[in-house]
Amino acid sequence: MSITHLDTIRSQRGEIPEYKKADYSTDQEVRWCPGCGDYAILSAVQKLLSTLPVHKEDHVFISGIGCSSRFPYYMNTYGFHTIHGRAPAFASGVKASNPNLNVWIVTGDGDSLSIGGNHLIHILRRNFNVNILLFNNRIYGLTKGQYSPTSELGKRSKSTPMGSVDHPFNPVDVALGAGATFVARTYDIDAKHLTETLRQAWEHKGASFVEIYQNCNIFNDKEFEDVVSKQVRADAQVRLAAGQPMRFGADNNKGLIWKKGVVEVASIGEDGVTEDDILIHDPNQDNPGLALTLGRLRNPDSPEVFGVLRSIERPCYEDMLVAQVAEAKAAKKADLHALLHQGYTWTVE
C-alpha cells in the first residue's frame, strides 16, 4: 500500500543535503509592499532553515489571514495558507497526525490576538512542539489600516477617527499567561538577533512563541522607531541572555534591578547601586512572574526587553497522544470483527 511506500521512501533518505538560502525560496512573486518589514523576516527564516539539520520536506509553514500570512507562498516547503485566526488549530492537527514534521506558524497581531486569540492560548497550553512567529505591527495591514488589538489606547486609524478606546494586549503577556513554555521577543531589522532568536525557538521542544516587532511602512510607519532604531537601541533595549546581567546603555552602565517588588532601571555607581545588584536573567525559572514584569516594560518609561524571556520544559501534547495510542495498541489487538461482535449477539439460522 502506498502509505507504507511513503514510509519506505522516507527511511531510504540519505544525509541531509547542504542547503542554500535559495533552496528555500519559491518562484512566486513576493507581494508585500516595498519596504515592508516582512521581507527581512522572510530572508532571515530562509537563511536559518538552510542551516538547520532538517530535510526540506519535513518543514511545514502554516498561516492564517493577513499580510504576514502570505508567508508560506514564499517558502519552498510544504505550506498551508488557512483561514483567519485558525492557523494554530490546523497546525495542531498536522502535528498530532505526524509529530516528525517541523511546524512553523506565521501570524500577525490581528490574526493571532483578535480573531484567533482562542486558538493561540490553547496551542500554547497544550505545548505542541511548533514555532509561532507573531509579526506584530500594531495595525491591520491587509484590510488597509484599522487599529489592531496591540495598537495603543487612543490610536487614530480608519476605524477609530477619534482614537481607539481599546486597551491593547501585550503579546508576550498573553503567551506567558497561557502557560507558554518558550516566549521570546525580537524585531525585523536586526537580522542577527532575529535569526538567533528563531534558532532558539526551533531548538526548544514545545510551543515556541516569538513576538517580532515588524514595521508596516504604509499604515503604521515607524511604530517601533523609538525602540529599534540604531540611534536609540543601546538605551532603549535590554538584550536578555541566560546567566547574564540585564545591563544596557551606550556605556553599558545601566541595568535592571529588583526593588520593593518591582523592576526598576538603575545606573551602576549611582544611589549605591553596584554591578551585583543587577538582575541576572534566568529563562528557565518555572515561575513566570519576573518574565511577565520584564515583558511589560515599555518605552519611554523604561527600556524594552528582547531575547528569550522564558524557556522551560514540559511534555508535548502530540508525544502524550502518540504514547497513549501505542499503549492502547500494545494492550489490545485491533480486531474489527471483534469490535463489531462485542457484547451480546445472536444468530438467526
Partner: protein, 616 residues
C-alpha cells in the same frame, strides 16, 4: 425462580411500551435494559429515547420528564411505535406529559407513592387523576413502587434516598413478567455495574428485579401476561446497535480498510458527543481523538490532519456545523478529504438539543460562502449509520473532497438489531499518496474523478503550498484571472458531480411506477416504510424510495420521479429536499412537514399519502 408463567399467557404480534419518569428516575437505563432483554428474546425492535436537555431539571416538573419508548414484534419493526400500548409511569408530571399518547384501552402502570399533593401541584394537575375518573379510558395498575422497594430491601441498610432510586428495577421486573423477558442478562449487568463498587446496591437491584417479576406473577393486578414470538428475519449474526455507536464503528472500519490512521477533531455537543466518546476508546485501532477548544478548531485540526495524511473527521450538530462553515469551504477549495458528521437536532440556534430534526439539509448543501458544493450522504437508521459514514469516507478520499454525513438525534440514540456485515465485502477504499516528484503539480487531476493528488508533508520533492486563495489549475499557484476562477469553480463542482458515477441504482420499495412516489431521506426511513406497507396492503399504487446520496443525487432519480403521477416528500422540517427536487427536476413534488422534535407517526404519513392521492 421459574420464569414459566403460572397465569395464562396470551400471544401478541407487537407491543409498544413507554417508560416515563423524572430525569433522575433512571428511565433511560430501564429502557436500555428492556431493549437488551427484548433482543435476547428474539424480537425485532426499534427504540426512541426522549429526554430533556437539562441534566437534572427540578424534580416532579413537566420540564424534567424523561422517556424511553420501544416497539417490539414477531415481525419486522420499522419504528419505535406511534402510541404506547403500555405506559410505565413514575410520577404525576410524567403522567401528565404522556397520557394523551397512550392508546385507548392501553395499560398504565402507575407509581402511586408519587401522587402527593405537592407533586400533583408541580405537575399542574388540579385534582388527583387517580380519583376523578381522568384515567377511566385506560387500564390502570396502581403499584406503590417506592414503599414496596423500601420494604423489599430494608434489611440491606441502604440510605432511604438511595434505596428509593432503585424503584426502576422493580418496575422493570414487572414489565419483564408482563412480556416474558429473560432476566439473566440484566442480572449480570447489575452485578457488573454495581458488584465491585457497591455489593449492597447490586443485591438490591437484583432482588427488586426478581421481586417485580414475582409481583406480576402473583398479584391480582395483572390478569395475564403476554408473549411476543421471535421475529422471523433474514439469517445472520445480530447485535443491538445505537446510531452513534454504528457511526463510530463505521469510521474505524474505513480507517482499517484504507490503511489511514483516523484523526477526530471535535468539540462536545449534544447529540454527537457519544461518537467522540466511542472513538476515544478505540485508540488500539490507531484512532487519535482531539477534543478541541471550539468547533472551528475541531474542523481546522481535522483539515490539518488530512493535509498530513490522516483520514480526518470532525463531528458535531447543527450549531457546530454552522461554525465550521468557513473551514469546510477551505477544505473544498484546497481539495483535501474530510468527513463532517452532523448529528442533527432541533434548531434553529440552540433549539431543541435533545430532540430530533432534519432541518440541516439545506445547510449541508449550501451553507458556505462562494460556490462550494460538497457531497452529502444521510443515514436512514441506527445500523445504517455504519455503512453511510463508511461511504462518506470512501468518497472523501477517492474524490479528495469534504463530505457531509448526516445523522439525527433519533438515529443517534435510537437502537435496533443490526445484522452484522461481512467485513470482507465492504467496498475498497484505495488510497495512493503521491510520491513521485517527476512532473508533480499540486492541482493536476485524475481523468475519471478529477481528484488532485494527495501529497503529504514529509514526501521528498513534493513541497507545495495550498491555501484558501483561488489558484491556477494545475500548478495551484495563487491566481486572480477571471477566466481561471470561472474554470476552477466549474471544475470543483464537476468533480463533486462525478460522485454520481459511484451511486448504485435506486432501490424502489414497491412497483417502479404508479400513482404516488414517497421520497424520503434520513431517519424517517422506518416510518415511511411502515406507512407504505400499510397503504400498499390496501391496494394503493404507492412506492417509496429513500435517498442516501443527497448531493449529488442519484443519476436515475429523474427517471423514477417521472414514472409516478404524484410525488410526496415527507420531512421533519419545513420542506428542504422537496425544494431541491422541484428545482432539479421541475416536478410538482409536494411536501409533508411536521417539526415537533419527534419522529413522524406512521398514521400521520398514511393520512398524508391518502390525502395527496385524493387531491385533484
Amino acid at each position: 425462580m421459574s420464569q414459566s408463567a403460572l397465569k395464562p399467557s396470551q400471544e401478541l404480534d407487537r407491543v409498544t411500551i413507554r417508560f416515563v419518569g423524572d430525569s433522575g428516575d433512571g428511565m433511560q437505563l430501564t429502557g436500555a435494559q428492556f431493549t437488551s432483554a427484548t433482543a435476547i428474546a428474539g424480537n425485532d425492535l426499534a427504540t426512541l429515547p426522549d429526554f430533556p436537555a437539562e441534566i437534572r431539571a427540578p424534580a416532579s416538573t413537566l420540564a424534567g420528564v424523561s422517556g424511553f419508548q420501544i416497539q417490539f414484534a414477531s415481525s419486522e419493526v420499522y419504528t419505535p411505535g406511534d402510541a404506547p400500548d403500555v405506559l410505565v409511569c413514575m410520577n404525576p408530571a410524567a403522567l401528565r406529559a404522556n397520557i394523551k399518547d397512550v392508546v385507548p384501552g392501553g395499560a398504565i402502570i402507575l407509581n402511586t407513592d408519587s401522587f402527593s399533593d405537592n407533586s400533583l401541584r408541580k405537575a399542574g394537575w388540579d385534582a388527583n387523576p387517580l380519583e376523578d375518573g381522568t384515567l377511566d379510558e385506560w387500564t390502570v395498575h396502581k403499584v406503590p413502587l417506592e414503599s414496596m422497594t423500601l420494604e423489599c430491601i430494608k434489611d440491606l441498610g441502604i440510605p432511604t434516598r438511595t434505596a428509593r432510586m432503585c424503584k426502576n428495577f422493580l418496575a422493570l421486573g414487572i414489565t419483564y413478567w408482563m412480556y416474558s423477558r429473560p432476566m439473566d442478562a440484566t442480572l449480570k449487568f447489575v452485578e457488573q455495574k454495581f458488584g465491585a463498587k457497591s455489593p449492597k446496591l447490586s443485591e438490591a437491584n437484583q432482588r427488586l428485579l426478581k421481586a417485580g417479576w414475582a409481583f406480576g406473577e402473583t398479584c391480582e393486578l395483572f390478569a395475564t401476561n403476554y408473549t411476543v414470538a421471535r421475529a422471523t428475519v433474514s439469517s445472520g449474526t445480530y447485535r443491538n446497535i445505537r446510531g452513534n455507536d454504528a457511526l463510530a464503528m463505521g469510521l474505524v472500519a474505513a480507517s482499517q480498510v484504507s490503511g489511514l490512521d483516523l484523526f477526530v477533531g471535535a468539540y462536545p455537543i449534544t447529540p454527537a458527543s457519544d461518537v467522540l466518546h466511542a472513538l476515544a476508546n478505540f485508540k488500539h485501532f490507531g484512532v487519535r481523538t482531539f477534543q478541541a477548544e471550539d468547533e472551528i478548531a475541531g474542523v481546522s485540526a481535522a483539515i490539518g490532519a488530512s493535509f498530513a495524511g490522516s483520514l480526518a473527521v470532525t463531528l458535531s450538530s447543527g450549531p457546530g456545523i454552522a461554525l465550521k462553515g468557513e473551514a469546510i469551504g477551505l477544505a473544498h477549495i484546497v481539495e483535501l478529504p474530510l468527513v463532517i458528521c452532523n448529528i442533527q437536532r432541533g434548531g434553529p440556534s440552540t433549539g431543541l438539543p435533545t430532540k430530533t430534526e432534519q432541518a440541516d439539509l439545506l445547510q449541508s448543501l449550501y451553507g458556505r460562502n462562494g460556490e462550494a458544493p460538497i457531497p452529502v450522504v444521510a443515514a436512514r437508521s441506527p445500523s445504517d449509520a455504519f455503512e453511510t459514514v463508511y461511504e462518506a469516507c470512501r468518497i472523501a478520499v477517492k474524490y479528495m473532497t469534504p463530505v457531509i454525513c448526516l445523522s439525527d438525534g433519533y438515529i443517534a440514540t435510537g437502537a435496533e438489531p443490526w445484522k452484522l456485515p461481512d467485513l470482507s465485502k465492504l467496498p475498497d477504499i484505495n488510497v495512493s499518496f503521491r510520491t513521485d516528484p517527476e512532473g508533480f503539480l499540486g492541482y493536476e487531476r485524475d481523468e475519471t474523478t478529477l481528484a488532485r493528488p494527495w501529497a503529504v508533508p514529509g514526501t521528498p520533492g513534493l513541497e507545495h503550498r495550498v491555501g484558501g486563495l483561488e489558484k491556477r489549475d494545475g500548478t495551484g499557484n495563487v491566481e486572480y484571472d477571471p477566466d481561471n476562477h470561472d474554470k476552477m469553480c466549474r471544475l470543483r463542482a464537476e468533480k463533486v458531480q462525478r460522485v454520481q458515477q459511484d451511486i448504485p441504482p435506486t432501490e424502489i420499495h414497491g412497483e417502479d411506477s404508479g400513482d404516488l412516489l414517497l421520497v424520503g431521506w434520513g431517519g424517517t426511513y422506518g416510518v415511511l416504510t411502515a406507512a407504505v406497507r400499510q397503504v400498499q396492503a390496501k391496494g394503493l399504487k404507492v412506492s417509496h424510495i429513500h435517498l442516501r446520496h443527497l448531493n449529488p443525487l442519484p443519476p436515475d432519480l429523474g427517471d423514477i420521479l417521472g414514472r409516478f403521477k404524484k410525488v410526496l416528500v415527507p420531512e421533519i422540517n419545513l420542506g428542504q429536499l422537496v425544494k431541491v427536487i422541484r428545482a432539479e427536476y421541475l416536478v410538482d413534488a409536494q411536501g409533508f412537514n411536521e417539526i415537533r422534535g419527534l419522529p413522524f407517526k406512521v398514521r400521520a404519513i398514511v393520512g398524508a399519502i391518502e390525502r395527496t392521492l385524493e387531491e385533484k
